[in-house]
């Protein structure tokens, strides 16, 4: 596997569209290539930051306006 292919293949691996041999090739490359290992670690941490970020709630007045819209005849 080439470094150029790695990041895109990681996305495919995450989506579960790769077979076992492709997944094994990715893991092997990550173990052997420090640069791609760094990239992978940063992207994993980025994903964790996103998963743990707070989701803003819809303000009550906005929700009320939409409810009124849906109940208007």
């Amino acid at each position: 596997m080439k470094c150029d292919d790695l990041a895109q293949r990681l996305a495919e691996k995450h989506d579960g569209v790769l077979g076992e041999s492709d997944c094994a090739a990715i893991e092997k490359h990550l173990e052997e290539c420090p640069s791609c290992g760094d990239l992978h670690r940063d992207l994993e941490d980025l994903a964790r930051l996103c998963r743990e970020s707070a989701r803003p709630q819809m303000p009550a007045d906005v929700r009320r306006r939409i409810e009124e819209l849906l109940h208007r005849r």
Partner: protein
């Protein structure tokens, strides 16, 4: 013939609002960067959904359909109100000219964990997300923050799954680079 005759359209949409309203609003807010525009986008989306409920044939999930409308409204609003200088969307698949440079950037100079996972980094991430193109922002928010599947994101945005992965990959690389710049000025462990 409508595909949703079993439930009255207003009840269907009211249930979607109750269950998924926060998720739709959060998506609109990330897209528009403005609470007033986000409120307008969601409100207009529900008005449009009510008007065009016959177009919803139950072939996709109601949330997918509502996200699609919110996305369209949000993009219209930010363009109409000059909230955003249009950025060129790289719609093409395959590797872009900037991909290689971004992939070769050095690893983050990591700050201590309390900073890495703290509020300062989250604010930096929010600011960085706003520097993505609208399409990258939509793909990234739906996939990474909302946890939608690639197929759901593709359906919402009218893209092929492979194209979603390309945009997601570019969004991740840009965010990694922007956060890397942010971390440079911080202490290391």
């Amino acid at each position: 013939m409508s595909g949703v005759p079993a439930e009255e359209p207003r009840e269907l949409l009211a249930r979607a609002l109750a269950t998924h309203g926060d998720r739709l609003y959060a998506f609109a807010l990330r897209m528009t960067r403005d609470p007033d525009l986000a409120a307008d986008a969601v409100q207009e989306a529900f008005a449009t959904a009510l008007r065009k409920i016959d177009d919803f044939r139950g072939e996709s999930d109601i949330m997918t359909w509502l996200h699609r409308i919110v996305y369209s409204k949000a993009v219209d609003l930010i363009r109409q109100r000059g909230k955003e200088t249009p950025l060129p969307e790289d719609e093409e698949g395959g590797r872009g000219p900037d991909d290689e440079r971004l992939e070769r950037l050095p690893a983050w100079a990591r700050p201590p964990d309390e900073i890495l996972w703290g509020d300062q980094t989250r604010r930096a991430l929010e600011a960085a997300v706003q520097q993505l193109t609208p399409l990258q922002r939509a793909v990234f928010t739906l996939r990474e923050v909302d946890g939608a599947s690639t197929e759901e994101v593709a359906s919402i945005l009218g893209l092929e799954p492979g194209t979603v992965r390309v945009h997601l990959h570019r969004a991740r690389l840009r965010l990694r680079a922007l956060l890397g710049e942010h971390f440079k000025g911080l202490p290391t462990p």
